[in-house]
Amino acid sequence: MNKYNKTGDNKFPPLIQSPPLIRFSGIGKTFGNVKALSAVDFSFSPGECIGIAGHNGAGKSTLMAVLAGVFPPSEGVIETDGQACPHYDANTARLAGIRCVFQELSLCPNLTIAENLCVVHPRLSGRGWRKRARILIRTRLDEIFPGNTLTGNELVSDLTLTQRQMVEIARGFTETDVPVRLMILDEPTSSLDAHTAEQLLAYVRQATARGVTCLLVTHMLGEIERVSDRVMVMRDGCLVRVLPRENLTRDSIILAMGQHVEVSNAPREVRARMAREKGAGYEWALGPRKSVKVDAVPGEVVGFGGLAGQGQTDALLAIYDAAQRDARTRVAFVAGDRGRDGIFPVWSIAQNLDLRWLGKGGMSGSRNSETRRSRAGFLIDFAAARALVEAWRVKIGIRGASVNASILSLSGGNQQKVLFARALASNADLILMDDPTRGVDVGTKRDIYQLVRDEAAKGRTFIWYTTENDELTYCDRTFVFRSGSVTRVLHSDECTEEALLAASFEEHAA
């Protein structure tokens, strides 16, 4: 049994008397024209454990990166020990005793475990530094994860993901010149198993008792509930609530994370049911054991929800593969990662837009497609292509740029609209969307929602993976994913924020 598990046994650290370790006033951060953080005020006192909760894209990781000195804030003041730091960077943060365990791990795979320490500690140099580094990391590893079998000489690339995360955490707690005073743990347990996660949480309590401030950013609300003294809840880049230790429960965190939802639910259920009776639906069994069952009917908008990266994209790709093999299904895919999977950066807007349409003989997308299909050969009908591009340009509302201009001359949101038009201008009946509104402004999102609804009304089926829960209200049904399988199927009338969150956090036996 671990005596640090229950925070009730611990005395509260003196939060008021001591000066705050770090104070944020009015911190904001913008990337291009996306506002990732706005006006965050907070102060971290020595020896407290602060849980940080929020949706994907709520600004948690950005806030932690600002705190670790990775990005300078666009506005606001950071004070350490009561003194303002105008040039707050990674070195200032290190000298103030701030350490960060990054979500996507910051180890160098080509180095050994011990060698990885010298990236964090400039002090590790000169004679015998490798030996010192090995002793440092071995001591911490044994302290945090007793019973581990690492020697410190293994190459990081030879380690399993769990071992890498253990090393990343242990490296964060190593000390050479500056003692650790504030530790940021960004999703530290995402790759740990239940046993090692338990060991880590126990160590976090131990460290806070020593006076180290710990920040725990995690989707595992149970962990926050167990170890935190206070919980910061973030939403849309703002700090919306600070929940005190008293009456801190998972439900209260979920409630604070929730977002008010603009309800614009037309009763589309009826239409879906009608179509289902006609027996013209789609059905897929996905996953390694065909255990994930997804079905849709023509004209339905099916949502894939849940936390990010729980297997939704894999499911979409599997559906795409299945649809490609089936000659009857005409499918199009809207990529979420525009830069990587979506746009052709050296092509014009027009070339980017009509590509999917060209793929099917250069005919089928236009309104009178069926009549002209017979003429489809392998030469492009340029007049038709121009008409198509012009029609869609008006429809998606791209103004101020010639369709022959480079796609890169458009803003990110407009690029995404072109990708939408590419899928919608084709002959596809089934449209798969992989979190397409990622990093897109509100106005564009509204246009996209409108397009989706209009096209669904014409009988097209949409399968829409989104990380933004309020978008799921536009879906007739939502499949909530967790660890690669579907935990719940919510109909549009039951698809409330609370139900979604509850289903997203439905934990499997770990």
């Binding site: 670790a68 070195n91 160098c108 080509n110 010298c118 990236v119 190459l155």
Partner: protein, 314 residues
């Protein structure tokens, strides 16, 4: 780590040594005389400049770049050595120092502007070649006396090229693989984002490594000049591909900051020997380049095989 995976990693590390023996043993059987002091001196004479050029390439490959200009650069250095360094030693030294600084500046530029190194160094290779032709329009020149003396220095017991190579390998291994500064340089090849995140300057790191590459390029050119005693603008053009091959043969990888100094030196020696190997078999020297390529392909296939088996275990 399981012992099986550990032996696999060992095998991978030993591959450069094994391939060297695979070339060395047939040579010794065919011509036992090569084992003598004089024989080994003759056989490995040209290894030293290749080893230097290989280490220059290795410094660049460490940060996931590729230097396509090292061959022309070595030729340029040899031309500077055969002309300026003889007539106006101060100017010659200054020119060589300028070459090293130019390399460092190129490294900084590549990091600052995020230009592909292949493009920059391909362009530079023409610049170096052009400068070399301006300095020495037709083959000729003389090597400075001290340089000839250093390169023909007779070491006791073991032939000089072997001692040189071992020394270079040891110093390089210490600097890049053991010292904390070297490990940080390699870290920038493995995970540049993390290195920047912890407050290190990637520009300075890349400039340093390119500067080191320039320094090794200068050493390569001078040692080559000391051996040949006269220079030519096309003297070392084949060093570009030879150095890349040696680094890869020695266990290095194009991306990920995975390099081995000792392996690369062994690789350079293997490729030097491979050239002589066919001569002993009385096969035309036209086949030498092909032979070097064949060795490279065989070794790389073996390595991929080892990696795959390793990957299956995990």
């Amino acid at each position: 780590m399981t012992t099986a995976a550990f032996t696999q990693a060992r095998m991978r590390a030993l591959l450069p040594a094994i391939s060297l023996f695979a070339v060395l043993v047939p040579i010794l059987i065919l011509q036992p005389a090569t084992f003598s002091y004089f024989g080994s001196n003759l056989l490995l004479n040209l290894a030293v400049p290749i080893v230097f050029a290989t280490l220059a390439q290795l410094a660049i490959i460490t940060v996931n770049d590729l230097d396509l200009s090292i061959g022309p650069f070595v030729s340029l250095v040899a031309c500077i050595g055969a002309t300026l360094l003889v007539k106006q030693p101060w100017l010659g030294t200054l020119a060589l120092a300028g070459c090293v600084l130019a390399y460092a500046a190129v490294g900084a530029l590549i990091e600052l502007r995020q230009i592909p190194s292949i493009v920059v160094t391909l362009g530079l290779s023409f610049v170096w070649s052009g400068l070399a032709i301006v300095l020495l329009p037709s083959p000729g020149g003389t090597s400075p006396e001290w340089l000839g003396a250093v390169m023909s220095f007779q070491t006791p017991w073991i032939a000089a090229p072997i001692i040189w190579s071992v020394l270079i390998a040891m110093i390089g291994h210490f600097l890049l693989m053991r010292s904390s500064a070297g490990v940080r340089s390699r870290a920038a090849g493995g995970n540049p984002r993390a290195v920047r995140r912890f407050g290190w300057s990637l520009v300075r790191n890349r400039a340093t490594l390119y500067g080191v590459a320039g320094l090794f390029g200068v050493l390569s050119g001078l040692s080559l000049l000391g051996l040949t005693t006269s220079a030519d603008a096309n003297l070392a053009l084949r060093y570009t591909l030879l150095s890349i091959a040696a680094v890869i043969l020695g266990g290095g990888e194009f991306i990920g900051g995975r390099v081995s100094v000792v392996g690369a030196v062994l690789g350079a020696i293997t490729l030097t020997l491979a050239a002589s190997f066919l001569a002993f078999l009385n096969i035309s020297s036209d086949w030498q380049v092909g032979m070097q390529g064949a060795i490279l392909i065989v070794v790389l296939s073996l390595r991929v095989l080892l990696q795959q088996r390793n990957g299956d275990k995990q």
